[in-house]
Amino acid sequence: MSPPSTRSSRPLPPVSVDPGRGHVGRLSDPGVLTVVILVIAMVGTLEATYLTYIHYHGLASLPCFGKNSGHSTCEAVQSSRYAKLAGIPVALLGLLGYITILVTLFIRGELGRLAGFGVALIGFGFSMYLTYRELFTLKEICEWCVASACLMTALMVLTSVRYLRAA
């Protein structure tokens, strides 16, 4: 068993989760909380990557439970004016957000924890705004967007706990 990387003077091993030991290779502060944040951010990255791909390759192929006027509610939300911010697809912005949160997990010290929380808070706030638009302006629900909003909410809570707990 290798010791926690933060105390190792040897070359660091590649990122790997060891459930038996509960620590992660190069993470800044190995622990269950960090691993949970890592997993959630990775799920978010995968989802946002898929939505970004779909955005540029045709929304019609996006699986969706909701139907309205013969079209999927996910397609309606993803093609609405709120799906872009200053011309940039929000799926792409979300992807950048998740990747940034992942990167902050590998930055040691207060800066990494703080940056992770800041990005997650921005993602959470904007997700809440988009959910409001879905419910009260578009009146159509995109399950993919709701899932991302839930992931961002969890990340905001966990990154804030991570920062405050380190005090």
Partner: protein, 282 residues
Amino acid sequence: MASRKEQKEQARAERLAKEQELAAKASRTRRLQIFGGVTAAAVIVIVVAIVVSSSGASNAVQPQTAAAKAAAKHVDSLLAGIPESGNTLGKSSAPITITEYGDLECSVCDEFATPTSFTNPEGEAGTGWEDALVSQYVRTGKAKLVYRSLETASGSNPDANAFEQQQVAAEAAGLQDKEWYYIELMYNEQGQEDTNYVTQSYLTGLAKQIPGLNFTKWMSDRSLASLKREVNTDNQQGSAVDGGEGSTPTVVVSGPGGKSKPIIGLPTNGYSAYVSAINAVE
């Protein structure tokens, strides 16, 4: 009794503990201040993002632009020579009646109504299906098209009066037998859903593109209570037809024998769904 040395060590330990406690407290305070600062900065970023997102352009075609002229030219050639009466396009004696329940802001209705060369502000291409129905069935006298109002997308317009105003504007054109011209123009010059592009200048801009429309009469007719009642009646009737789903376009194909076939939304099997419905009710 503790020796003097022990007393000094104890006092030193107490002092160190107190210093550590103060240092820890100062550190916690500093961290909380930084936490608050980052939260405030994030809130500012969120507010800016919301302002940018909320102030996007509606992308509606502006009157007198090349796009508006192209739309008017298309509608001209589509409707030229076909009789119009009120909300009906085609000969009144046509055996088949195709009733479209639509919302003039609905982008799906726009897909139904516009040619394949057209792309709406949502980036969706027209199907050309309604144009095909006009060419193959209405122009030949086999069917007539009737337009009725059903509120769907307009419900997302920040302006709660937009639906009534736009539908009444079309009906006011219908009093001069130009309702279908107004309908087709609006579908071909639609702005983005859920934006408040349906302004007075937008509505009057459409009317000014209709050849032969008495603009003064149209402006005056828009305040008729009878037209508002008609929009409300259509809306209730449409809700009953589509089962309260709020789906537009809802198309009902009715034959001379009383048979009718509703088609809710855009059919997945395309234009052939309308042809099959017409054949089934003939």
